[in-house]
């Protein structure tokens, strides 16, 4: 019963959290955006005290339910492990192993130090929620959107506006590579050893493990009922039940209730500490059952290479999707990314520093950006964190999507009115690219589209009455939204582009 409840709630959580990464309409997060906000690492980075206290209390009372239900990466591993366990002869494939304490605490220490020192790459690489986010947005988002586009095609045929098509494009090979690598490692570990990743690498697992040792409700052996069959240990995906000594390593137990279900004699019960405290033996380290990690790693790397190749082939399909070009029309060259001295981060991010410190690179904002503006950074210090560029669209005035979805406080919630006055960058004119100079035609695109009136046209050749006009930018009014850059007719490099502001300010 407990197991069933766990599976159902975990399924719902997993499904809805995944949908957060797929939805591009922005309506879904209004209802379920909180599911990302209760993820532990983002909550810590956002200093979301309510969420942190809730999660710590939840763990203190019920054990590591977080890992079994809330964490999408945990549920994902259970899924893989479950499929693996359905194979012939693999019914009872787990066995007790001792905790890899050095590895666990080592990784946790590395994580904490990195967080304090602001080495965001390590933090984002280790955050389980962000790992899952990168996989979901890397693999599932394109599929979801293609599916949507197919429906849009059908809708168009029958003159319905129920679906509209959206762009699918490869935003970053680095993030995709990292997602492939984490999928490889995590999927293989889960396939072979259940929750090994959670109990040896994941810093969240280790952290919650400290608390779950002392949680009020725990699983206990009822020694008088136990017949010592060991079925519980062989079904424990956390490998934390030592059937011989009848010990459970509560720091690793994710309260999945599989053992309760499996035990034929009802010898394992989930009860409060008071009731079973006296019967709980002290944790012992069992040296007999250390698994052969060396061998595992070999198998893993070969397999992950194969899966990597498969996924690379798959992403080539993403790349080859080109824009449909009609004949009889001038060809339009694709825009190229200008070399920005300072990256642009979205309004609400406050500063490059704030973004770097809080972001776990979960890709939620990037998946949600409806204007094709956000994409992962490829610079080492801000690796995989979002930054902006305006070749595909610009930061439109009616959109505050990224600030609404961010669970980590890297992009603080803002409303549309606030956004219109936040300067995230400054437009810079490149004389030699401007069509006024290259084509000798009058163009007022940047001036016309500027939402704050920061661009004014002045005579290029003062003194001549028929002088063409060129744009000038008022630094005090420019908010860096990129409308001018995106709609500039100069290609491949726009004649006006935005340099980021290190710290945002209001105009």
């Amino acid at each position: 019963m407990l197991r069933k409840i766990r599976i159902i709630t975990a399924g719902i959580f997993f499904f809805l959290t995944t949908l957060l990464f797929l939805d591009f309409t922005g309506s879904f997060h209004l209802w379920f955006g909180w599911m990302a906000k209760v993820q532990l690492v983002p909550a810590i980075l956002a200093v979301n005290v309510v969420a942190i206290i809730f999660l710590l209390l939840l763990t203190f009372i019920f054990g590591r339910l977080y890992c079994s239900v809330i964490c999408p990466l945990g549920v994902f591993q259970d899924g893989i492990s479950n499929v693996s366990g359905r194979r012939k002869g693999k019914k009872n494939r787990f066995r007790y192993s001792s905790p890899k304490s050095y590895l666990r605490y080592g990784v946790l220490a590395l994580f904490v130090v990195s967080m304090l020192a602001g080495i965001s790459v390590v933090v984002s690489a280790l955050d389980p929620y962000a790992s899952y986010g990168r996989m979901a947005s890397g693999f599932l988002t394109p599929l979801y959107r293609w599916g949507n586009n197919l429906l849009a095609l059908v809708a168009e045929r029958i003159d319905s506006y129920a679906f509209y098509s959206v762009d699918v494009w490869m935003k970053s090979w680095i993030v995709f590579g990292v997602a492939v690598a984490s999928l490889g490692i995590i999927a293989i570990l889960a396939w072979r050893h259940g929750r090994t990743y959670c109990n040896t690498i994941c810093p969240v697992g280790t952290l919650l493990g400290f608390i779950s040792r002392f949680s009020i409700f725990k699983l206990h052996f009822e020694l008088e009922k136990c017949n010592g069959c060991g079925l519980c240990a062989r079904n424990c995906k956390s490998s934390c039940i030592d059937a011989k000594t009848k010990n459970i390593d509560y720091s690793r137990c994710v309260t999945c209730f599989n053992c309760v279900e499996k035990c034929k004699s009802g010898a394992i019960v989930y009860t409060s500490r008071k009731w079973g405290a006296s019967k709980t033996p002290v944790d012992t380290v069992d040296v007999h059952h250390t698994s052969n990690t060396e061998n595992d790693k070999d198998g893993m790397s070969r397999r992950s290479v194969l899966s990597l190749l498969g996924l690379l082939a798959f992403t080539n399909i993403v790349k080859s999707q080109q824009i449909k070009v009609d004949g009889g029309l001038a060809t339009i060259e694709d825009k190229k990314i200008p070399d920005r001295k300072t990256p642009i981060v979205p309004p609400g991010a406050l500063s490059a520093q704030n973004m770097k410190q809080h972001c776990t690179a979960c890709q939620l904002c990037i998946s949600g950006c409806p204007n094709g503006v956000l994409r992962p950074s490829s610079k080492l210090v801000t690796l995989m964190q979002p930054e902006m560029s305006y070749e595909r669209g610009y930061c439109r005035p009616e959109c505050v999507e990224c600030s609404q979805v961010c669970p980590a406080g890297a992009i603080k919630p803002i409303d549309i009115a606030e956004k219109s006055a936040i300067s995230i960058g400054l437009a810079v004119w490149i004389k030699d690219n401007c069509v006024v100079n290259t084509d000798e035609v009058q163009c007022n695109s940047c001036e016309y589209h500027c939402p704050t009136g920061a661009i004014t046209l002045v005579d290029r050749d003062p003194g001549y009455s028929d002088s063409l006009k060129i744009p000038t930018v008022d630094k005090e009014l420019c908010i860096g939204c990129g409308a001018c850059e995106n709609l500039c007719p100069a290609r491949p490099f726009s004649a006006i582009y935005v340099e980021g502001n290190v710290r945002h300010h209001s105009i």
């Binding site: 509209y164 449909k324 004949g327 009889g328 339009i332 069509v435 016309y448 007719p489």
Partner: protein, 463 residues
């Protein structure tokens, strides 16, 4: 108990329906009811007559010209093996064969139509028929500012090329193209100063041009000047439809004036834009209702064609037909023409009122402005906008009842009909397109107006 009863009834009624259905299906298959027709006839459906076409006779050459003229400016395209676009010659052949078989004999092309491919494609299709089965109309086009094209030699080259492309040794109807566009100055520069008109008059004497005329857009001074001059014009091509009759837009002149002046001189008129770029085939529903009340089976396009063909001084009415269905419908409309009656004219007056109150951009999608050097699909943007107006989805205020539906229809439909990079937001206001528009649309201003409307919807601004 009660439930069980209901279930039985529903099963029984289901069987009953099934039985009735199969009886009806059998009846339909074997036609057991003699007064129940198998399919519709009349209106837009039914047989397409091959020998009932209405013909008009020219006063100068005595040609018997079919009232339906084939406009060769919108041929269907296909991709060739290299991935390049070309005219879909198979479909063009099929359409033209069908047109000739059903009595159409006037084919109107130009060296600039369909990106310059129209004459060759028309030539290929027509040369498969006896030369006396068709009349060819082509033009000395003038929308190029290139002095090499505008010179005597350039004009001669264009003229000669038409013969080879069309595979003919005489041209039945030769036109000075878009006379009036650019005013008197452009006209003199294009046809008088370089002695091109003198040359063409001599060609007419020599019989290589059987009828000489001009197509008119824009400045009425040029029209008046040409009619007043002592040159004998065999025909003139004008824009005529029930909206333009008294309400021509921009600097265009009312068709009523143009046709009356031509009738005074006994010059037959060739009619272009009978559908106003398709707008008269997609009228707002209240306008359509007026027409449907009188002829439930006739389409709005049929009304417009009957209107254009009714005046006896009209020689032929041009239609750029891309689809077989349109060709068939137009043939039916004119086989034979049933002239409009007083009651029908009155109905069209009311339709015109509705059309004038609607918020259309006056674009006929003629493509003369294309290609825009900055990649815009100008006719595409205007076409989408006009279709939204026709469908009653153009909002006057954000508080309109149908706001949500109309917003989706406009924005989603916009992305479907025009790629994002070719939409109004990318207009830079350079005005290069402006002089090319025969409807005198202030294209950049209209683009900005449409973009403004788009932004109002995208940003959900109240208006």
């Amino acid at each position: 108990m009660e439930n069980k009863g209901k279930k039985e009834i529903s099963r029984r009624s289901f069987l009953k329906v099934l039985g009735a259905g199969s009886v009806a299906a059998t009846a339909a298959l074997y036609g057991c009811k003699s007064d129940n027709k198998v399919s519709a006839e009349g209106g837009t459906l039914g047989e397409v007559p091959t020998d009932k076409m209405t013909y008009r006779t020219t006063p100068t050459t005595g040609d018997k010209v079919s009232l339906l003229g084939y406009g060769c400016m919108r041929y269907p395209l296909r991709k060739n093996s290299k991935g390049e676009e070309e005219v879909d010659q198979d479909i063009v052949n099929e359409l033209i064969d069908y047109a000739i078989a059903h009595g159409v004999n006037y084919f109107d092309t130009s060296p600039v139509y369909v990106r310059g491919w129209s004459e060759a494609a028309t030539g290929i299709a027509l040369s498969r028929h006896p030369r006396d089965k068709y009349f060819i109309a082509t033009k000395l086009s003038n929308m190029n500012n290139n002095p090499n094209v505008r010179s005597y030699e350039g004009s001669l080259a264009m003229y000669k090329k038409s013969f080879s492309e069309l595979k003919v040794d005489y041209i039945d109807y030769y036109l000075l193209h878009t006379v009036g566009n650019g005013g008197m100055e452009t006209f003199e520069n294009r046809y008088i100063d370089n002695k091109v008109l003198d040359f063409l008059l001599k060609e007419r004497e020599a019989g290589r041009v059987r009828n000489l005329g001009f197509s008119f857009h824009g400045d009425i001074a040029v029209f008046d000047y040409l009619l007043a001059s002592d040159i004998k014009w065999d025909f003139v091509q004008i824009q005529l439809n029930y909206v333009d009759w008294k309400h021509a837009t921009g600097s265009n002149t009312n068709a009523e004036y143009l046709l009356t002046e031509l009738e005074k001189k006994n010059i037959p008129a060739v009619i272009m834009e009978p559908l106003l770029g398709g707008r008269l085939s997609r009228v707002p529903s209240q306008a359509l209702n007026i027409m449907k009340e009188i002829h439930p089976e006739d389409s709005a396009a049929q009304w417009a064609f009957r209107y254009a063909g009714t005046p006896e001084s009209v020689l032929t009415v041009l239609s750029g037909m891309v689809y077989m269905e349109h060709l068939q419908e137009n043939i039916r409309t004119y086989s034979p023409l049933i002239p409009l009656q007083k009651k029908e004219y009155e109905a069209l007056d009311r339709v015109t009122e509705i059309m004038l109150n609607a918020d259309y951009v006056q674009c006929t999608e003629c493509q003369y402005c294309m290609p825009c050097p900055y990649g815009l699909d100008i006719p595409g943007v205007f076409g989408h906008y006009n279709r939204i107006v026709s469908a009653g989805n153009k909002l006057k205020s954000s508080k309109d009842e149908n706001y949500k539906k109309a917003r989706t229809a406009f924005l989603v439909g916009y992305d479907r009909s025009v790629p994002k990079l070719r939409q109004a937001s990318h207009c830079i206001g350079c005005e290069i397109c402006k002089p090319h528009c025969p409807q005198r649309i202030d294209i950049p201003t209209e683009m900005r107006r449409i973009d403004f409307y788009t932004e109002q919807l995208k940003q959900k601004i109240e208006f």
